[in-house]
C-alpha cells in the first residue's frame, strides 16, 4: 500500500486536523465526536443541512460545508457510516431554530445510524427531516432489497438544497427540494483500478491489466460487471445509455452533467470523458445546460469515473448558480 499517511488508524483524525488548519475562515472542526460545521453556525432562522458518511470520499462531505451548501458534515471512519452521536451533536450545533435536514445516502449503515440520530434529536425537541439519496442505476431497485446506492447526485443535492436553505425556505420546502433533486438525478460509475482501504492495506478487489469494472459504487464494492478495457467512447456510451434510459430522458430535456473522478484519475481524462458525454447527449438532443467536472465524490485512490445527470428545471438552475463558498465548491462569492 502506497499512501501519504502515517498510521492507518489516524488518517481520518489527521485529515480533519488538516482541514481545520486550512479553512478556519470556512469551517470549524470538532473532535470526539467528529464533525465539521460552518464557521458561523448556527445561522439563526435558516434551515440547517447536515450530511455525513464514511470518510474516503473527499471533498465530500467536509469540503462542502460553508455558505450556500452544508451546515455540517459528519465524517465516519473510512467507508464506514458515522455514528448517531456525531450526527446528533452536529445537528445540535447547527440548528438555527427552524429545523434540520439530514441528507442520507442509501446504505444500510447510513440509514440506520441517521435513523437513530433523528430519534435522539427529536427526543430533545429538535425538528428533523431525513432525505435519502438513491441514484445509482447500476443497482437494481426493488422493494425487497436495500435499493439503489446514493452516489453522485448527493453532491448536486447538497449544493442545490444548500442554496434553497440559504434563501430562507422552510424545513419542508428544503426537504422537498432534496427529494426533487433525488428524483431527477441518476448516476453510474466505473473503475480502472480498485481502491485500497488504509486499515486493510491491500486493494479491495483485483483487476487485470486489461480489465475494468462497470457499475461500481464508491466503497470499492464490486460492480455490476467486469469486462475488457475499452476506449472511453464505448465506456461513456455504456454508462450514459444506462443513465439516460433509466429516466428515460428525451429530446429537448436539459441536464446538469456531472463527470466525477474517483480519486486517482487526473483532469485530462475527465475532460476527455466529458467530451464523449457531450457528443453522446447532443446526439440524442439532450442539452447540457450546466456541468461539473472534477473529483468531488471519490473512492480513496481508485482510478475511474462516474457520470451523473440531473434533469434541470428553472428552479434548479437558479439554485445551482447561487453563490457557494466551501473548500470544495466555490463561486459567486
Amino acid at each position: 500500500m502506497k499512501k501519504l499517511i502515517n498510521d492507518p488508524a489516524d488518517v481520518v483524525r489527521e485529515e480533519l486536523l488538516g482541514i481545520a488548519a486550512a479553512h478556519p475562515d470556512l469551517v470549524s472542526v470538532h473532535f470526539d465526536p467528529n464533525y465539521v460545521v460552518r464557521a458561523d453556525a448556527p445561522v439563526k432562522g435558516k434551515v440547517a443541512l447536515v450530511s455525513g458518511g464514511g470518510s474516503g470520499h473527499e471533498p465530500m462531505h467536509g469540503g462542502f460545508v460553508g455558505v450556500g451548501m452544508l451546515d455540517a458534515a459528519c465524517p465516519g471512519e473510512v467507508f464506514t457510516s458515522p455514528t448517531p452521536d456525531q450526527m446528533q451533536a452536529a445537528s445540535k450545533a447547527v440548528d438555527g431554530g427552524v429545523g434540520v435536514v439530514h441528507i442520507v445516502k442509501n446504505y444500510t449503515g447510513d440509514i440506520m445510524n441517521f435513523d437513530m440520530a433523528a430519534e435522539l434529536c427529536r427526543a430533545e425537541g429538535a425538528e428533523v427531516e431525513a432525505v435519502i439519496v438513491d441514484d445509482d442505476v447500476a443497482v437494481q431497485d426493488s422493494l425487497y432489497t436495500a435499493g439503489r446506492r446514493g452516489v453522485g447526485t448527493t453532491v448536486l443535492m447538497e449544493k442545490i438544497a444548500g442554496a434553497a436553505a440559504q434563501e430562507g425556505r422552510s424545513l419542508k420546502e428544503v426537504a422537498d427540494v432534496c427529494r426533487e433533486v433525488n428524483a431527477g438525478g441518476r448516476s453510474m460509475g466505473m473503475a480502472l483500478t480498485s481502491c485500497t482501504v488504509p486499515a486493510a492495506g491491500k486493494p479491495t478487489f483485483e483487476l487485470g491489466e486489461d480489465e475494468m469494472e462497470i457499475g461500481i459504487g464508491i466503497h470499492g464494492e464490486p460492480g455490476r460487471e467486469r469486462m475488457k478495457l475499452k476506449p472511453v467512447h464505448d465506456i461513456v456510451e455504456m454508462m450514459a445509455t444506462a443513465v439516460v434510459e433509466d429516466f428515460p430522458l428525451k429530446k429537448g430535456d436539459r441536464v446538469l452533467a456531472f463527470v466525477n473522478g474517483m480519486g486517482g484519475t487526473p483532469m485530462i481524462e475527465l475532460y476527455v470523458v466529458f467530451n464523449e458525454l457531450q457528443r453522446f447527449l447532443s446526439g440524442r438532443g439532450i442539452e447540457i445546460t450546466r456541468n461539473l467536472i472534477g473529483s468531488y465524490i471519490t473512492s480513496l485512490d481508485m482510478a475511474g469515473c462516474s457520470i451523473t445527470l440531473l434533469k434541470l428545471n428553472d428552479d434548479f438552475v437558479r439554485l445551482w448558480d447561487a453563490p457557494v463558498k466551501t473548500a470544495g465548491l466555490r463561486w459567486g462569492v
Partner: protein
C-alpha cells in the same frame, strides 16, 4: 437447582467475545471484502475495544446496565450497519436484564428474543435475506425449544450456538436482499455473510463461557 450465570460471568462473556472478534478481525474483514466493503472485522473490533474501555467504569452487579453500556459503546464507535445492529442487540439485552445481578435460562431467552426483535425492527431483515438475522433467529428458536424440552442452561446454550452455526453456513448459497451485499445481486451467492459469522461467534462464546466450570 437452576443454573444461574452471575454478573462476573456475563462480563467474562463480553470480554471473551471482544477477544474472539480481535482474533477473527481479518477473517471477518475478508468475508466482507467478497460481498461488502472490507470492514466488518475492523468495525467490530473497534467497537468491542470501546466496549471494554466502558466496562472498567461500570458499577458492578447490574447485568442490564453493563450490557446497555456495551450497546451504547457500540452505537457510538462502530458506525456502518454493524454499529446500530449490534448496538441495538446489546441495548435490548440490557433492557431485558435491567437490575439483575445474575441471569438464568429464562432471562436469557427473554433477552435474546428482545434482541432479535430489536435487530429486525432496526434493519427490517427477514430470514434468508443473508444477514446476521440468519444466525440470530435460529439460535433464539433453538434456545426456546431446548428450554421447553427441559434441557439444562448449558446444554440449551450449546444447541443455540449450533443453530447459529448452521444458520451462518446456510447464508452461503443465499442471494443477499439486505445490506451492502444486495448490490451484488446474484454475485453475492456463494459467500458466507460476515454479520451472520460474527453473530455465531457471539453465541458460541456465550455457550463456551457460561457452560464450563
Amino acid at each position: 437447582m437452576r443454573v444461574k450465570v452471575p454478573y462476573d460471568r456475563v462480563v467474562r462473556w463480553v470480554e471473551t467475545f471482544a477477544a474472539t472478534i480481535a482474533e477473527n478481525k481479518e477473517y471477518l474483514t475478508d468475508l466482507d471484502s467478497a460481498i461488502g466493503d472490507a470492514d466488518h472485522g475492523i468495525n467490530m473490533d473497534r467497537g468491542m475495544r470501546a466496549a471494554l474501555a466502558k466496562l472498567d467504569g461500570q458499577p458492578p452487579g447490574d447485568v442490564g446496565a453493563m450490557l446497555k453500556a456495551v450497546g451504547m459503546a457500540l452505537v457510538s464507535s462502530v458506525g456502518g450497519a454493524g454499529g446500530p445492529l449490534y448496538g441495538t442487540l446489546f441495548l435490548q439485552l440490557g433492557t431485558a436484564t435491567a437490575g439483575k445481578s445474575e441471569i438464568d435460562a429464562d432471562d436469557w431467552l427473554a433477552a435474546l428474543t428482545a434482541a432479535v426483535v430489536g435487530v429486525q425492527a432496526r434493519g427490517k431483515a427477514e430470514p434468508n435475506d443473508k444477514t446476521m438475522v440468519d444466525a440470530l433467529l435460529p439460535a433464539r428458536d433453538a434456545l426456546e425449544e431446548a428450554i421447553a424440552e427441559g434441557e439444562s442452561f448449558p446444554d440449551a446454550l450449546r444447541r443455540s450456538a449450533q443453530a447459529a452455526e448452521q444458520g451462518m453456513k446456510a447464508t452461503i448459497p443465499l442471494v443477499a436482499r439486505k445490506g451492502r451485499a444486495s448490490y451484488l445481486g446474484e454475485r453475492s451467492a456463494g459467500h458466507q455473510d460476515p454479520g451472520a459469522t460474527s453473530s455465531y461467534l457471539l453465541l458460541k462464546t456465550a455457550a463456551d463461557t457460561w457452560s464450563d466450570g
